[in-house]
Amino acid sequence: MRRPSSYGWFPAVSALTWRTIPYRFSSAFFLILSLVLLVFARAQPVALSSFRTHVVDGLAPVLDAAMRPMAALEQGEISVQHLLSLKTDNQRLREENLHLGEIQNTAIALKKENNELRALLNFKVEPGLSYISARVIADTGGAYERGLIVTAGRTDGVHEGMAAMTGGGLIGRVVEVGDWSSRILLISDLNSRLPVVIAETGDRFILSGDNSPRPKLLFLPRDSSPIAGYHVVTSGHGGIFPPNLPVGLIQETDQGKPVVVPSADLGRITFVRLVDFDLKGGAFNPIAVRTHSESPKK
């Protein structure tokens, strides 16, 4: 005969069974929760970005600490490479020095002429620049994204839309800003669209990232024929970046399609300079307006 239950109308279950209930339902709970997150991410992608920036902010010191040995390792490797190529570098630099001397003379003459012409046209000079140097602590590459996380955030004066540059040229823009860290979307990312112009011909088009090292060109004018070796610079359209920031060189693929090889080596970036072109300000301001830091952040 069945014993009457001590749980009222609930079926008789042992204490052990009650204890295992959370474990039984935890799978369903987390699966449903992750599905809800996924749907929410589709509907409100911006709402979850603050969660992401908080997580990255919290982990930035850990990533930074983990990067220290890497930086030392890389420095060691570079030193060895420099030593090995000392003689050839010296020869090359001598030749370059001669060539640069000639270029310098031309540049001085052009600068003088440029100043005179600007004065003649009452030309509005580019707005004052402010920039922040930051160390790369994470390469969020993977097969789906092309991005970096750097050690500078809101407290350093970083804001969304700032240009990320290296010595080579433009590499991307700031898309998420935390208190201590920021995320940069590289120009090679699938979601990156950049209005650019060919310096030699003035043809405008859109540089579109496709997650490959060489972004492609979109919306080429019909009569335009980009030639390998031509320089690609920002066009200034859209008001995000000023015109004439170096982006890369045109190269042809094996199929004859034009692509752009970025001026900066996107696969090997250690430090970046986040530049605020202050395009909203507009007026000429020869002195850096806000943060002005020459040395990389420690």
């Binding site: 935890s26 993977g142 789906y144």
Partner: protein
């Protein structure tokens, strides 16, 4: 007092699978001094998830898999929820097949991982295609999956050593 230290020691040891997995997620995104490594970086956090779910599911509950997915999404820049869902689902399935994966030779464990990473990559590709409406180039994805499967024994060896030294007495 001895009992307190014993409990603390035991508690910390029990955290090893979760902590190691989170460390793997960090190692995946660190800017290694090797050009373009980030593009083809093996999925270290998935390797950790697979190993610990197979061998110590009691120390690697589904909540940890969910948290690991959230961390991976936050660091990698993927839409929040993608890896969380896939890791939770992977944990759910692996847990039910663990006797088969972990109960035979290492080759079976390895093949199990290769199959898991292939299915998850395919699902991730489809989810991102739906979310973004744009297809990701397949070649890096394919290369990353193959590399992840080939790379599996190395972190696995480290996890085995860790399990034997830190958790072996239990």
């Amino acid at each position: 007092m001895n009992l307190f230290w014993h409990k603390l020691d035991s508690g910390l040891r029990h955290l090893i699978p979760a902590l190691v997995s989170f460390l793997m997620a960090l190692l995946t995104v660190i800017a290694w001094p090797v050009p373009w490594l980030g593009t083809i970086m093996p999925p270290l956090s998935l390797i950790a998830l697979y190993y610990w779910t197979c061998h110590r599911p009691d120390l690697f509950p589904i909540g940890v898999a969910f948290a690991l997915g959230l961390l991976t999404d936050s660091l990698s820049g993927l839409p929040i929820g993608v890896s969380a869902f896939l890791f939770t689902l992977a944990h759910f399935v692996i847990l039910r097949q663990r006797r088969f994966f972990a109960g035979h030779s290492f080759i079976v464990l390895w093949l199990g991982f290769a199959l898991t990473t292939f299915i998850l990559t395919l699902m991730q590709y489809l989810i991102l295609f739906v979310l973004r409406g744009e297809a990701t180039p397949l070649f890096p994805l394919f290369f990353q999956t193959i590399l992840g499967a080939l790379f599996f024994p190395l972190p696995c060896w480290i996890f085995i050593r860790l399990q034997r030294t830190a958790l072996g007495a239990e």
